[in-house]
């Protein structure tokens, strides 16, 4: 397996639910390719960091204001 082929299948390695022959093949490539190992680890970490940090938090006061505005709009639409 080449590095390009490995990277095209990177998602298979990022999804823990996926098993089987393809995963075994990917694992085998990883054992002998430090570059792909780094690519996998840092991509995994990328996802992890984005999941962990709430970038667009909705503060409670804004949520309340938004909530009221939504319901007012819906009530006012005549439906």
């Amino acid at each position: 397996m080449t590095c390009t082929e490995f990277l095209q299948q990177l998602d298979e390695m990022l999804d823990p639910a996926i098993a089987g022959p393809l995963r075994a093949e990917l694992q085998e490539h990883l054992h002998c390719c430090e570059h792909c190992e780094i690519a996998l680890n840092t991509t995994r970490k990328t996802i992890e960091i984005y999941r962990k940090h709430e970038l667009y938090e909705l503060p409670e006061d804004l949520q309340e204001r938004l909530h009221v505005a939504i319901l007012e709009k819906c009530r006012g639409c005549g439906k």
Binding site: D11, L66, I70
Partner: protein, 186 residues
């Protein structure tokens, strides 16, 4: 109305986050959330029930958000397909390991700034796929349905979004590591 209010309460936070990921601006995101819920309320009788309400709602919100972007760009068409034909990130170039751990290099808010700046550089069609799949936790099938894309298109965009983010973050983190080692020398 009471049942709908429950749905608003349940999903307003998530829809706001998705809208922000696309429009990158709080005021526009607020408008998108309001309009998306209003449209879903008006069209509730068209909701087929063969998909999840949330997926249907996200589809409406994504369309509203893209329309909002279009308005902001003085009428220029903005679609989910914009700028996705890029090869950037498809082959990782910078393969430096992330050491020391980037989370040890930056404080919470500095890291959040870096993450925001990094994701803002992606085309909207990549940002939204990444946000739905990796941040919001929707499945590939749900993401495809919410965006009106095929499953292979979602998979391909997700891979490229992940690799582009990884590549861009690597540049930031390398600078941070250099800065830290310089400070350490002093």
């Amino acid at each position: 109305m009471a049942a709908f209010e429950k749905l608003v309460r349940q999903y307003e936070r998530q829809v706001f986050r998705i809208a922000q990921h696309i429009v990158q601006n709080r005021e526009d995101a607020e408008d998108v959330v309001q309009d998306a819920f209003l449209k879903s309320y008006e069209k509730l009788d068209q909701f087929q029930g063969n998909s999840k309400f949330y997926t249907w709602l996200v589809r409406i919100a994504v369309n509203e958000a893209l329309m909002r972007l279009r308005k902001r760009r003085t009428g220029r068409m903005v679609s989910i397909d914009e700028d996705v034909e890029t090869d950037e990130g498809s082959m990782p170039r910078d393969l430096a390991d992330w050491s020391p751990d980037p989370e040890a290099l930056y404080g919470q808010s500095e890291m959040a700034d870096i993450l925001r700046k990094t994701i803002q550089g992606l085309p909207p069609g990549f940002r939204v796929v990444f946000a739905l799949r990796d941040v919001d936790g929707l499945s590939t099938e749900e993401t495809a349905e919410a965006l009106g894309l095929s499953i292979p298109a979602v998979k391909s965009r997700l891979l490229r979004a992940r690799l582009q983010l990884r590549e861009r973050l690597t540049r930031y983190f390398k600078r941070g590591a250099r800065r830290q080692s310089k400070d350490g020398v002093k």
